[in-house]
């Protein structure tokens, strides 16, 4: 009997101890890896006496499954444009109440971004608050002499045209996710990034197969930027603008003299990641506080120093222009500001059948 009492009292005490931990409210944040400055998280936790639980995601589709399965009470997610469209279509997002965010003004965002959003699916502004935006482009180094000029003159053609580059010499990198790999081929062929035309998709497939058979192509994710910056294993690769600057900061910190640069052709993919409150949210008020917190100009600038993408608000961009380091950076690398893109197209939600077809095309190309 004594043992039973002892067991129960231990159980009871541990329960008390556990509930003691739970007192602080929790904010479940579904985010990409290395996409939020850790100092800001601490600051937010202190300011609002809460705990931020970060759930890391590797793709938009990951985020979709986490939200739609309801595994976690996700309060804030930061998916990209086309996934916001999909989530909104399936009624998995809350309409935002902008009166709850004192830092929010409808005209606070960069003009080019605002135009982009206005041309996007109807009502997207009411679900999401932009976090960062960027483009895709060609990151390259100086391993092969003369390549820089070829890339700047020919853009996406360097991935496919063997008259431009020596196929025995250059090594190129492609993203190992279907949508971005296929985008390179679509941009080269002059198709829309959202094409669902089956003839066009067949052409894309043939092109990717031929590319892999002709050239030394490496498919990877985060490794691409490292390999280009390593200066040995890749000459050029398709990368997100944020990835390029991430790598540039690292090289600067290391004091490396490896030359890297990025070229964004006129026609490219533009994207914005935005904060949304999924219907799974339980701590909605705290979620609003978080969005509000992330709209504060000082916080945005602090976040930029860590992330490498371009901020979305006019004030933050202005603050960067007034900063010596970033003014220099903006001048030297105009690709930092996605608004410079002349002909950017945003991905749209294409429906599940097309995604299956895209994976098929990608597999055929990658395993050719």
């Amino acid at each position: 009997m004594k043992k039973v009492i002892l067991c129960f009292s231990i159980l009871f005490l541990s329960l008390v101890a556990l509930t003691g931990c739970k007192k602080k409210p929790k904010l479940y944040l579904l985010n990409w890896n290395e996409y939020l400055n850790g100092d800001l998280v601490k600051k937010f936790e202190e300011q609002f006496d809460c705990k931020v639980v970060q759930l890391a995601s590797e793709s938009n589709e990951d985020m979709y499954t986490v939200i739609s399965n309801g595994q976690y009470p996700v309060d804030i997610a930061i998916p990209s444009d086309y996934m916001i469209q999909k989530l909104a279509n399936e009624k998995l997002l809350n309409q935002l109440d902008f009166s709850k965010m004192s830092n929010y003004q409808s005209d606070m965002f960069d003009e080019n971004l605002a135009n982009l959003r206005a041309s996007y699916f109807e009502g997207n502004e009411s679900y999401a608050v932009p976090y960062f935006w960027g483009t895709i482009g060609i990151m390259y180094n100086d391993r092969t002499p003369g390549l820089e000029e070829v890339i700047q003159q020919n853009g996406w053609d360097v991935f496919f045209d063997e008259t431009l580059v020596d196929k025995n010499q250059v090594k190129m990198g492609m993203y190992n996710n279907p949508r971005d790999a296929i985008a390179v081929a679509e941009l080269y062929l002059g198709y829309s990034l959202n094409t669902t035309n089956s003839d066009e998709l067949t052409n894309v497939q043939n092109l990717l197969v031929k590319q892999n058979q002709t050239f030394d192509v490496k498919y990877a994710a985060d490794d691409l930027k490292k390999w280009v910056a390593g200066g040995l294993n890749l000459d050029f690769a398709i990368v997100y603008s944020g990835d390029f600057f991430d790598q540039l900061y690292i090289l600067e910190e290391d004091g490396s003299d490896q030359y890297i640069n990025m070229y964004v052709p006129d026609n490219t993919n533009l994207y914005f990641d935005a904060m949304v409150i999924p219907t799974t949210s339980k701590n909605t008020d705290l979620a609003y506080e978080f969005i509000n917190f992330m709209l504060d100009t000082d916080n945005i600038v602090e976040n930029v120093s860590y992330v490498g993408y371009c901020p979305c608000t006019k004030l933050a961009i202005e603050a960067l222009q007034n900063d010596e380091y970033y003014a220099d950076l903006l001048e030297k690398y105009p690709v930092f500001y996605p608004g410079n893109t002349k002909n950017g197209e945003v991905y749209r939600d294409l429906g599940d059948d097309i995604y299956r077809r895209l994976t098929e095309i990608y597999n055929a190309g990658r395993n050719a």
Partner: protein, 276 residues
Amino acid sequence: MKRFSKLSIPYLIWMSLLVLIPIAILIIMAFQETKGIKIFEGKLTFNNFKVLVDDYFIESLWLSFLYSGISTVCCIFIAYPIAYIIARSHFNNRFLVLCFLVLPMWSNTLLRTKAIASLFMEGNIISSMLAKIGLELPTLDLYGKPLGVIIGMVSMYLPFMILPIYTVLEKIDKSLYDASDDLGANTFKTFWKVTFPLSLKGIVTGIILVFLPCATGFGIAEGLGESGLIGTFIQQNFGNNITYGVGALVSIVILIIITASLFIVGKVDKEGETLL
């Protein structure tokens, strides 16, 4: 004995929670076309079964078995001599030697895969060290090449082949060797007629331990730049495609193949000496 049978209750609960229920969910999902895990909402459908005649699926399944078959054979040929030498040696501390062989297994698989991948690229740690002393050797460009994947699989799973073979070799009664010697057999004949037949069980166990994870694994091949295998196929269905039903069905099919092969092994090995 009965008193101890109660001790198995936690194990049974554990098994049903973490093995039986998930498999049941997989089976239900295989007959549905839901996005995500919604086992009570979906409708019954056989559409997922189309994947079983899909060329790409068959090709990647075949390729997986080919890769892991080659890797397993390589493992046997590398592991057997090692296990044999250690088992027959007169080291005082054979256990220590074994530990060194198994040591890499204790570090993270992903880390080891990344390390091997970087060895297959230019500017890797070995070539840069050699370059410092003036030796410029061409780098093995094996990233994404079949040979690279097989080297990766072999190095990853070699300990799983060495250990069972070593265990059976160690157990062989030493007097059998003396008897064979007395009866006039030379070393080679002793090995072929005595040692090898007695160690077959260890080889079979090793094959099971190496072949199955090689065939169904995802991380090693993907980390070494090969994405045409069945593991990646399943991952894509749970990832980019969000077709959980298809992914679940393919997993079930592989599960059936594995169970069937273990069943066959069990039939052949009636004495149950395989270290399963």
